[in-house]
């Protein structure tokens, strides 16, 4: 069995905030075309990990490889240039701006011809249409795309952030608890969306506390614990309760049956 191609890899990431060590030598591997779930207790360092991968924070130590080449993301712009899109847990949205604007923030569509190339005018109509389409895909009943995001319900707001990340990625999609605030129907739509993204060939990193979701969709499960990677599990082999045991520390990584580990 040939080793699958690694799209993203991190070795020994360390991130300290004052006295708190959020990441304590974390490793990470993402394979081409897979859905990798990242799970772990609250404060295990999941968000800190993906923030390093997406350029939102710069790790204190450790290195990150993209397609085998070392990269140093100083800002989210660097990661974005590399085709990585991330939906953050604390929803990076501009509350006073409209849904359509938030969806296209930093990726605005310009008009054709003179108006777009010289005047650099936005194609608002097109953006509205696309936004409408994307939100419909997620079955979110939002009436107007020109509504300010701050007027949305918690779940609706989350849908905006998820739709944005999924829409623009060229290389890797990272979703930090995308379904946390979503209803059953909307949550399923997001899972559906994730699958569609994977089917386009993009690997997805999915952070979630929702075990049924994780087991439904993940190809491999990365378990974060105390700022490190405790294990990488194969959801087809291991049971949900064993997974939770590893996650909470009730089961030591050494005790995991070898065939449950993902390889």
């Amino acid at each position: 069995m040939s080793t699958p191609q690694l799209v993203m890899q991190a070795k020994g990431l360390v991130k300290r905030y004052g006295q708190v060590t959020a990441l304590d030598g974390a490793d990470f591997e993402l394979r081409a075309g897979e859905i990798l779930a990242v799970i772990g207790d609250n404060g295990a360092g999941k968000s800190s990990l993906i923030k390093c991968l997406s350029g939102a924070t710069v790790p204190d130590e450790g290195e990150i490889l993209l397609d085998g080449r070392p990269v140093r993301f100083q800002t989210p712009i660097d990661a974005r240039r590399a085709g990585i899109e991330c939906c953050y847990q604390d929803l990076a949205v501009a509350p006073a701006m409209t849904i359509a604007e938030n969806l296209f923030l930093g990726r605005e569509l310009k008009r054709e011809g003179f108006a777009g190339n010289v005047l650099r005018m936005l194609d608002k109509k097109k953006m509205l249409e696309v936004a409408m389409q994307r939100m419909a895909d997620l079955k979110v009943g939002i009436r107007s795309m020109t509504q300010a995001v701050e007027t949305l319900s918690g779940g609706q707001r989350q849908c905006v952030a998820v739709a944005r990340a999924a829409a623009f990625a060229k290389h890797v999609v990272i979703l930090d608890e995308p379904t946390a605030a979503l209803g059953v129907k909307e949550g399923n739509m997001v899972l559906e969306l994730i699958r569609r993204v994977r089917d386009k060939g993009l690997p997805v990193i999915l952070i979630s506390h929702n075990m049924p979701h994780v087991f439904e969709i993940a190809d491999r499960i990365h378990v974060a614990r105390l700022g490190r990677r405790a294990a990488v599990l194969d959801p087809k082999k291991i049971s949900m309760s064993d997974t939770v045991a590893v996650m909470t520390g009730a089961m030591r990584p050494e005790d995991i049956p070898a065939d449950c580990l993902a390889h």
Binding site: R80, L105, K110
Partner: protein, 319 residues
Amino acid sequence: MDNWKQNLPPIGQLGPFIALLLACSFFGATADNFFSAENFSLILQQVMVVGVIAIGQTLIILTAGIDLSCGVVMALGNIVMTKFAVELGLPAPLAIACGIGVTALFGLINGLLVTRIKLPPFIVTLGTFNIAFAITQLYSKSQTVTDVPPLMTALGETFQIGGTSIAWGTLLMIAMYVGMWWWLRDTAAGRHVYAVGNSPEATRLVGIPTERVLLGVYVLAGVFYGIASLLTVARTGVGDPNAGQTENLDAITAVVLGGTSLFGGRGVILGTLIGAIVVGVLRNGLTLMGVDSVYQVLVTGILVILAVTVDQLSRKGGR
């Protein structure tokens, strides 16, 4: 289905507009000679300098900043362009470019301090206020510069439309407001200005170079201050080192009266134009009413509060 909503004037403009209408009807009723095309043309000429400064100020306030240095930077530009033309004998267009260059440089300095060292804009521009002020006084020896070339005062000239004389500078100001309004509304760069002010962290995280946006805004504001320098020369016909010392408060007042939030990210630049006109109308109207100067101050205080109250109440009604 979204269209009719978009075409409604945003609440942010309606409020100041109502305040303006009320102010006008008040003075129309109490002061003679207030309602005349000539008088309105005059008011527009009087607000043109503050109005253009307030364009730059609006941009900065939209990014949740504030610029105290605007007026004195304008004065420095004014002295540089007139002295370069009169004393160094530079051709007028070049001298004007130099003046605008200096104000843009100050914008750049403000911007660099705000973005690179992450200093609060209030303190940065308080510092550059002092610096620009001192340089202006030192360079001009506090002396007015006279005999400026006619090209520099061209914007102060008027032309007639239906018997009313309108200054070219007024037209320029309005054109710039409309241009910036369009730019802020219809280009990606403009939307990024709002985004940076509304939520700098979110804007950074989606991969917008927030520092570059901020820096651009400060430099652009500096350019507007430079244009305001030229307008001051055009209006007074001289280079005046003592111009601009109270324009910062006036400009901020215009911005806030115009409904832009000092916390950034919310507001419409056309509101600032109305805010600036409200300030001009107050000053003009009170003089026409023959109110004594101390009482003018008193009444200005009351009317400013009334104007925002009207604005605020009309917003509540509008929701």
